[in-house]
């Protein structure tokens, strides 16, 4: 598991940042995000908390070997859950990859909270984790296959050398017998 985190301040008040949050994309600096869809949204009539579930479509530029090994496609999708709580002035975006999620997960959380009355703290953490059970079984199967190949080759090697020795010494013996 790998962790990542960073914090910094935006020089805008919290409400401006949170209004802008919904307008971040499309963005020429983040051209990999090509679609955003809202799947669910609720406004809690008691607390005023807004919960939104979105799915982002990204053009992934994965290294060729990853695409070959895992059969990934060009399109990758991410699920996001966004909470905006006006009472605590906390806006959070939690995202998890949907594509390739059988191999590895990237769990990211971004939070926007007021730093001062006209600046906003951006706080980001991410946990990146390969699904170890899957890797272990893949590694196990690879080892088994290698052992089988090794055994087969060892067996063939024995037969092959037996042939060479027999041929060599049968010929030599025949030659000796003939020259006597």
């Amino acid at each position: 598991m790998h962790f990542f985190s960073q914090n910094f301040d935006y020089s805008h008040p919290w409400s401006h940042v949170v209004i802008g949050m919904w307008r971040k994309y499309p963005n020429p600096k983040c051209s990999h995000v090509i679609s955003i869809d809202v799947l669910d949204r609720s406004v809690d009539p008691g607390t005023g908390i807004i919960r939104t579930e979105r799915v982002l479509g990204c053009k992934q530029k994965a290294p060729g070997w990853i695409v070959k090994l895992f059969g990934g496609s060009e399109d990758a999708f991410v699920r996001e859950i966004i909470f905006v709580d006006p009472a605590t002035q906390n806006a959070s975006i939690t995202s998890v990859n949907l594509s390739m999620s059988q191999f590895a997960t990237c769990f990211e959380r971004i939070q926007y909270t007021p730093a001062t009355c006209d600046t906003t703290l951006f706080s980001q953490t991410a946990e990146i984790q390969a699904r170890m059970a899957l890797w272990r079984s893949a590694a196990d199967n690879l080892e088994k296959w290698l052992v089988q190949r090794f055994e087969q080759n060892a067996q063939l090697g024995k037969l092959a050398f037996t042939d060479v020795l027999r041929t060599l010494w049968e010929e030599r013996h025949a030659q000796q017998a003939a020259s006597i």
């Binding site: 962790f3 409400s15 008691g46 005023g48 998890v96």
Partner: protein, 107 residues
């Protein structure tokens, strides 16, 4: 505004986004102000939730039907269901720890 993953849903998606953004921009700052008092907050939240549903509900229903089909057609519904089971995320997370240092580390 970002497009939908399905071109046929994009016009409805843009209409819905415009509706939400207009509502949200009127909602947010008074909601912060209203949250100093639980009774005022509750009354404000109830009124604004109703207003949102009546203003944006009709286009939401159309957009939702469109995107639901598009998600299913791409097989994303199965992946979404798995993700929802693994992380329901039904409650807001606690606020970030104060003065947490920035770092990258390996466990």
């Amino acid at each position: 505004m970002a497009d939908s993953l399905s071109p046929e849903c994009t016009p409805l998606k843009h209409e819905y986004d415009s509706c939400f953004n207009a509502w949200f921009e009127g909602y947010l700052e008074p909601a912060v102000a209203a949250s100093t008092n639980p009774e005022i907050r509750s009354a404000y939240s109830k009124r604004k939730a109703e207003e949102f549903n009546s203003k944006c509900g009709p286009v939401w229903e159309k957009y939702r039907a469109c995107i639901k089909k598009a998600v299913k057609d791409r097989g994303l519904d199965v992946l979404l269901q798995q993700a929802r089971e693994e992380h329901p995320l039904t409650e807001p997370p606690p606020p970030p720890p104060a003065n947490a240092p920035s770092s990258t580390k390996k466990a």
